[in-house]
């Protein structure tokens, strides 16, 4: 990561005004969005949108041709431009032909993408943004920090300063007063302007219509008052049919700003009369700029389904800490990382792709059904292929790929770590656990790894067997979690086997883009875990479970390796997470918690992979309540703890504040214990709690259940 990028992150994270505003907004957004979607089947709606947009994305040429015929028949001129240069050249020509001196614009991210304002100004025109947020950032000489709320990073004091300069009058910081100033100042610009430039939220092939969705009313003026109207529309905005507008209009305002509908929606089909009786000179510029290429890439074609609502930014735990400017480009947040990699170049996403912690929040709420985390993983993979990994990373992954060497080094570290041990925590660990962030202690490497302890556990010989996949953290840092799991399953009449040859699940390599390394890990694990015929392969680490259940398959698929796929699918079918298995055993009456215990208040932290990839959230809660705990939910229970594997080491300046937020939310419940199903989250949160000094126990569900179930008769 470049040092100036790191600096910009530190600056953003330490900007309390920015993080305060974004934090408050993200909290309000979650509540308001849910309210806006009341009574609507969101899953059905977004499937509907995704289907329609996916059709458009794979039929661009057809739709563009149909659109051109229809729109031109209605009096518009349609120009398909493959490059930003051609867009600019065309718009300049239209301006010159019409002797344009002044331009008013309504919001258009496509125009931001090609830096159109700068170009027109260099060619002697006066260009005025009229969307309030866009005008603010134009006056400030900045880029938008959010695609829907461009000036969300600015305070009313800063806005007052900018407006005061613009109108030559000392203004107060009263927001309605500032808005009134904008109304007056910009009204005259609308009336004077020779040309209006708008974007387009949709372009309908069947009718040649463009759709504009706005709140302020500026787009209606931009498209009505000047005699020339240029609509600049990215070709991802196509839909086939007129009725395709409906589902997008249902979702876009709800997802963008939690409104049922924006104040204005305009559907413009061809040229209309100007106020002087002449016909509008309407130009619709359809911009490609690598979108066609994107639509032909099997991994990224889904990005064409984006309706530009910005909700992926609104729910991102990273975005709300760093804001948009850290992304350094026009498009920000998760979707911005993807669009930057395409519309600019892959290289430009090198730093910003690392901001994604892979928590999956954005995937859950995307109305276009984009799998943003997965596309960012693919960017990471392609960057790793293109650039090669850094020397240090390579050294690490070479070790990880050699199980014996890896495990020997982890064992050695347990001895080497001893002098630094304070209580159960040490300050340094090898590999991806090294170079700690402040505000969190890390566990000592266990004196004896689980794989050795396992041999000493006296298990009854039972007919029914499951294999336990421990994962590195339980094997080498928290073996006691593994012991608890074995004992619980024994109690249910199941014998646990521990395939010795199991190794790292490959997540650290995969999340760093090193797919070949991850594929080798996958092959080793598949061979190890399928050696004996068992009913289930159980894991108490959601990240490992996801690897076994999903990612081995996707890693092979991404690399085009088919040989191991059938076995990977067999493994996936047998993989189960700990809480789901135990819940099943309790439901079947094979484990019976004692009734009526009063164990006090507990709160539960949802781990990202468990909740959003494995869709498991009720099971551990039910189990903990069944053994006698009283559940008190924390605020944002399913927001990432900031661990993200090696993320917390690479970006401690982000991971730290996310952890602090989580600790605050845990403490606010007043619960004496916080439970979770992921040893990675335990490491992060227990370490944070240790530094914080709060006397709250941070436990894996397996340990809490073992305490109760094993004492039951």
């Amino acid at each position: 990561m470049k040092s100036d990028f790191k600096e910009s992150i530190s600056k953003a994270v330490n900007n309390t005004i920015l993080t305060g505003a974004l934090g408050k907004f993200s909290e309000a957004y979650k509540v308001n969005r849910a309210k806006a979607y009341e009574g609507i089947d969101f899953e059905a709606l977004r499937q509907n949108i995704a289907d329609r947009k996916a059709y458009a994305a794979t039929h661009i040429d057809l739709l563009a041709a149909a659109f051109k015929i229809k729109a031109e028949a209605a009096g518009a001129k349609v120009y398909l431009a493959d490059s930003p240069e051609k867009v600019k050249e065309y718009i300049l020509k239209v301006a010159r032909d019409n002797n344009v001196k002044t331009v008013v614009k309504s919001k258009s991210m496509a125009s931001e993408e090609i830096h159109l304002n700068k170009f027109l100004e260099e060619n002697g025109m006066s260009v005025r943004e009229t969307d309030l947020g866009e005008w603010i950032i134009q006056l400030a000489g900045q880029r938008p920090s959010h695609m829907v709320m461009p000036a969300i990073h600015m305070t009313k004091e800063e806005v007052s300063e900018l407006f005061s300069k613009a109108v030559g009058e000392r203004l107060s910081t009263d927001i309605p007063r500032l808005v009134e100033v904008a109304r007056k100042e910009l009204r005259s610009k609308f009336l004077e302007a020779d040309m209006g430039i708008s974007g387009g939220n949709l372009a309908v092939a069947e009718t040649g219509s463009i759709v504009l969705v706005t709140n302020e009313g500026n787009a209606r003026m931009v498209t009505t008052l000047p005699k020339v109207h240029v609509a600049l529309v990215g070709i991802e905005k196509f839909v086939e049919k007129f009725e395709d507008i409906v589902p997008v209009l249902e979702a876009l305002p709800r997802s963008a700003t939690a409104q049922l509908l924006t104040s204005y929606v305009s559907i413009i089909t061809g040229a209309t009369e100007n106020t002087d009786g002449s016909m509008k000179d309407l130009h619709i510029v359809l911009m490609d700029n690598r979108r066609t290429e994107m639509s032909k890439d099997t991994k990224f074609v889904q990005a064409m389904q984006c309706i530009r609502c910005g909700s992926c930014l609104n729910v991102c735990p990273i975005y709300r800490l760093v804001g948009g400017h850290v992304f350094g480009s026009v498009y920000t947040g998760g979707i911005g990382t993807i669009l930057t990699a395409w519309f600019e170049q892959l290289q430009n996403s090198e730093d910003i792709q690392g901001l994604c912690i892979q928590c999956g929040n954005c995937k859950d709420i995307c109305p276009g059904m984009l799998d943003i985390p997965d596309m960012i993983m693919e960017i990471r993979r392609r960057l790793a292929v293109e650039k090669g990994q850094s020397f240090v990373q390579k050294a690490i992954f070479t070790v990880v790929n050699n199980r014996k060497l890896f495990h020997t080094m982890l064992r050695a570290a347990s001895v080497a770590g001893t002098p630094f041990t304070s209580g159960a925590f040490i300050r340094h660990l090898p590999f991806f656990l090294s170079d700690l962030t402040e505000g969190r202690s890390l566990p000592a490497i266990a004196a004896e790894p689980f794989r050795d302890t396992f041999k000493k556990i006296k298990q009854p010989k039972l007919k029914e067997k499951v294999a336990f996949y421990a994962g590195c953290l339980i094997d080498f840092a928290y073996p006691e979690m593994g012991v608890s799991l074995v004992k619980i399953l024994n109690k249910a009449g199941i014998e646990v086997i521990f395939p010795e040859d199991q190794t790292c699940c490959g997540a650290p390599a995969r999340y760093n883009g090193a797919y070949e390394v991850a594929a080798n890990n996958a092959t080793d694990n598949i061979n190890a875990l399928l050696k004996e015929d068992v009913d289930y392969i159980v894991s108490a680490c959601p990240t490992c479970t996801v690897a076994l259940d999903h990612e081995f398959i996707s890693t092979f698929t991404s690399l085009g390796q088919t040989e191991m796929l059938p076995k990977a699918k067999i493994l996936a079918a047998k993989t189960i997470d700990f809480s789901t298995l135990v819940k099943k055993l309790v439901d079947e009456g094979r484990l019976t918690p004692t009734q009526g215990r009063k164990l006090g208040s507990i709160t539960y932290h949802d781990s990202c992979h468990l909740k959003r990839t494995l869709k498991v959230s009720d099971e551990p809660r039910e189990l903990l309540q069944k053994v006698g705990y009283e559940l008190t939910e924390m605020f944002e229970c399913d927001t990432c703890c900031g661990m993200g594997g090696s993320y917390s080491i690479k970006l401690p300046e982000i991971s730290g504040p996310i952890l602090q937020r989580k600790l605050t939310n845990i403490k606010s419940t007043g619960a004496a214990i916080v439970a979770m199903d992921c040893p990675g989250c335990v490491m992060q949160i227990r370490g944070g709690m240790d530094q914080d000094g709060a006397k709250i126990k941070v436990m894996h569900t397996v340990e809490l259940l073992a305490e109760q179930l094993l004492s039951d008769k």
Partner: protein, 184 residues
């Protein structure tokens, strides 16, 4: 029932909603409203009424006499200087409290974008359930500028504080008339 549903949604986004049985009763509301809001025959004081079926069979002279700033010719300059714009709209949607109308004629847009107060007139029988229903009726082949209007103009671009009336009308007054036929 549909009227009540619409009214709740529309008021929820800041619209003002009224209902009258006849055009005469609606006029008995509109004329004092214009007087009270300070419509005058001077720049920034005009009220512009764009052509529409409501005006059929209505004698405009007494209206003009009652409110001297009220004009029935809509021009760009007058619209830029108007306080109130009056237009008729096609449909009202209960699900979002929206008005949907064909604004191909530029006069319809001028009075509903540049005015400080927009008065929208509509027959009570024009209420539909939602977007699906209205999309079956509207036709971009005939209507080149279809407008959805949902409450007054708004922004939250400064510190996310909702502020009404940034570029478009600061107030949207919706008047339903049960019987759009007949003269006054």
């Amino acid at each position: 029932m549909m009227y009540e549903q619409f009214k709740i949604r529309a008021e929820g986004v800041g619209s003002e909603v009224y209902r009258f049985q006849t055009k005469a009763e609606a006029l008995d509301f509109i004329i004092p409203f214009l007087q009270k809001e300070g419509v005058t025959d001077a720049p920034h004081g005009y009220a512009l009424w764009a052509e529409g079926p409501f005006l059929n069979g209505i004698d405009r002279t007494p209206l003009h006499n009652a409110v001297p700033g009220l004009k029935f010719e809509v021009s760009r300059q007058l619209a830029a200087d108007c306080l109130v714009g009056i237009s008729e709209v096609g449909y009202a949607l209960t699900d979002t409290g929206s008005l949907v109308t064909d604004q191909t004629a530029v006069e319809q847009r001028l009075v509903s974008t540049l005015a400080v107060i927009h008065i929208a007139l509509i027959g009570t029988d024009k209420i539909l359930n939602g977007k699906m229903d209205v999309f079956k009726i509207i036709n971009p082949g005939n209507s080149k500028y279809i407008a959805f209007i949902t409450g007054p103009s708004r922004t939250a671009d400064i510190e996310r504080v909702l502020t009404i009336g940034v570029h478009g009308p600061k107030r949207l007054v919706i008047i339903f008339v049960d019987d759009m036929g007949g003269a006054n």
